[in-house]
């Protein structure tokens, strides 16, 4: 026990966002997963019967499904040791002033600047597994845009939720999608009406904050015909004494001529299993874009997907993985072409250092009849030392002749010549390596909102310190 405590203390010291607030949760289900736990969650949330049934059926699917036999090692997850629902507060807040001081302090420590709070027209902050604060800019409400916590969305717009919930990612999709479907809590619900362009990104910050807390947020975004929206999600998590599971589901419906961009910067602390299913269904002439940055977690398995379901639909996945000590990031993307003249691009950049392991795993599928479609995959890996590892697992299934398909891959080490060149100008090895790494990921970073790009740059420089030389 002594060593465990020391280890925990060391971890807490190593992890710069490793603070967490005293647990003030109000309602908590007992440890472990069972029918009664799922029923309790649904009952506590006062959900309609169809949702309770959806959860219970998903629980059965979860129990029947095998753990994935590919990808990262998930054998140490013990589902019985987790809490599946904690509610931090019975009260919902609508104004910033009403948000408890303790929670504001947490945000201050993450460093959300005052100016940004104003810039963000709507902040959906998830504290533990509940949306506690939500403020939506008036003009959007007038335009008919809905931006709520998923639980609120279900209460206020049950028909809309019921129409789309679980349609892009059915609970039987995979074991962790089933788990999420059974115990989901929090996440965002967004509906953008026809022809409405949401010009300022919608943002949410997620944090896990209770020991052994599993987080299962569920996000559903519907962009109606000709509308557009950019959703940004970023997270930093405090440290835990035992492993923690994050199994989210994000479903996005992009209707005819609509455009959705979903940006994620994932920086879970390095004890979190981050197993997320993300998928967009893109209709005729719609555009779906995933920008997916993974820095943290112990293990990540995440492959954002676009199903190009209508003629001329476009999909793009930009995936970034930064695997440091003890991390295994298995990420990539999927592009499924179901209609003619669809175009897809997957760009993956990974960096591995200090025993870190990153894998690109991707799939391009073009069905018979999706003529004139184009798909392109590019994955580049950068390995910083002999201890680290990078793998590529691409799958291409092309059942149509009239298509264009390209795949490029590269693996490189930080070049001795590049380092020497930069160092010959006076930079030390850490600075030189940071520059090279930041330069390598620049094509993805430039797509991020400025504040995220700055934070990412800072995080990478920090992670280089002491790891080089």
């Amino acid at each position: 026990m002594q060593t465990l405590t020391q280890e925990t203390a060391k971890k807490a010291k190593d992890y710069k966002f490793g603070f967490h607030k005293k647990d003030k949760s109000v309602f908590k289900t007992p440890k472990g997963l069972s029918r009664s736990v799922v029923e309790a969650i649904s009952h506590y949330k006062n959900e309609p019967e169809w949702m309770r049934d959806f959860r219970l059926s998903a629980l059965m699917t979860f129990e029947q499904k095998q753990m994935p036999t590919w990808g990262a090692d998930l054998s140490t997850i013990s589902f019985d040791e987790l809490y599946y629902y904690i509610n931090p507060s019975d009260k919902k807040f609508h104004k910033w002033d009403e948000v408890p001081k303790e929670i504001k302090e947490t945000y201050d420590k993450i460093g959300i600047p005052e100016a940004e709070k104003k810039f963000l027209a709507g902040v959906g902050a998830q504290y533990d597994s509940e949306m506690i604060y939500h403020n939506l800019k008036n003009q959007w409400e007038k335009q008919g845009v809905i931006f709520l916590g998923m639980d609120d969305g279900l209460k206020k717009h049950p028909d809309l939720v019921r129409q789309y919930f679980g349609t892009v990612i059915p609970s039987a999709d995979n074991k962790f999608a089933a788990l999420n479907s059974a115990v989901w809590s929090g996440g965002s619900f967004i509906y953008v009406p026809k022809g409405v362009n949401v010009t300022i990104p919608l943002q949410a910050y997620f944090r896990i904050n209770a020991a052994n807390m599993g987080q299962f947020e569920r996000t559903l975004i519907i962009a109606d015909e000709g509308s557009s929206v950019h959703y940004v999600e970023g997270c930093t998590a405090p440290i835990y004494s035992t492993d923690s599971l994050h199994a989210a589901v994000v479903e996005i419906v992009v209707k005819k001529g609509a455009r959705v961009r979903y940006t994620t910067i994932q920086n879970w602390s390095n004890n979190v299993y981050n197993l997320v299913t993300k998928r967009m269904l893109v209709d005729e002439d719609g555009i779906g874009e995933w920008i997916d940055g993974n820095l943290g977690s112990k293990i990540t398995m995440k492959y954002p997907s676009c199903i190009l379901n209508g003629k001329g639909a476009k999909g793009e996945v930009l995936s970034l993985a930064f695997a440091g000590k003890g991390q295994h990031l298995d990420s990539g993307g999927k592009m499924i072409h179901l209609a003619p003249y669809t175009t897809g691009t997957i760009t993956s950049k990974s960096v591995s250092m200090g025993t870190g392991r990153s894998s690109y795993r991707g799939m391009v599928k073009i069905v018979n009849g999706a003529r004139g479609s184009k798909s392109f995959v590019r994955c580049d890996a950068l390995i910083l030392d002999e201890l680290s590892r990078s793998d590529t697992y691409p799958v291409n299934i092309i059942n149509e002749h009239d298509v264009t398909m390209g795949h490029e891959a590269s693996v490189s080490k930080v070049g001795e010549d590049q380092l020497f060149y930069l160092m010959s100008r006076g930079l030390d090895e850490t600075q030189a390596t940071s520059l090279i790494v930041n330069g390598f990921i620049e094509p993805i970073v430039k797509e991020l909102p400025l504040e995220y790009a700055v934070e990412l740059n800072r995080l990478i420089n920090l992670s280089m310190e002491g790891s080089v030389g």
Binding site: Q418, F420, G439
Partner: protein, 250 residues
Amino acid sequence: MKKRDKLKISNLHAGTIDGKNILQGVNLEVGMGEIHAVMGPNGSGKSTLAQVLMGHPGYKITKGKISLNNKDLTKLAPNERAKEGLFLGFQYPVEVAGVNYAGFLRMAVNERTTNGNKISPIAFRKDLGEKAKKLAFIDDISIRSVNEGFSGGEKKKSEILQLSILKPKFAVLDEPDSGLDVDALRYIAKAIAKLDTSLGLILITHYQRILNYIKPNYVHILVSGKIAKTGDVKLAKSIEKNGYEKYIKN
């Protein structure tokens, strides 16, 4: 005191880390404001000398010493040598994708300041802009990535630009003239000639051509990893006419 500043190479033996000996006892002393041209046939060790002076990790010094103002550089990392005032102009400047040229160079300038006063971004941009203009850079170099997508001529000019911004005490220019057309050569050569007069320079070159613009105080002939002959500009002219054969036989 300044007068005594010297880059001193004493009995330098060096080779690749896998054991191939290249430099076999090079001796060279460069004072402030002096220009030393180093010429020699292919494979004589000219580029190796340049790389070893700056501390390339692919080479190992087996014997001898490099010192700058009596400070022993032999065991220092490249950045530490740079901070002592040494600069290497690369024959093949390395591309670093995605790394902003101006940002990188300003970082280097700030790393080299000894008094802790960092240069303001505005002052730096102005300096960079003016110096780039003198070297006839057409595109705005401050927004480009380090050497990425530069033409052959731009790469060479970029080295001289960095030299003029970083203001070292001693510089080694490894074939700054190779692969250039007549106009580019003239720009580069004039820019080198206009550098701070106190700069001590080792100019490695294959050809006498650049010496039409830059007048060396000394010309050294490097053969088989050793300086076979030292003279003045006349030596370079004689090489141009008669080749290196005479020295190789020795």
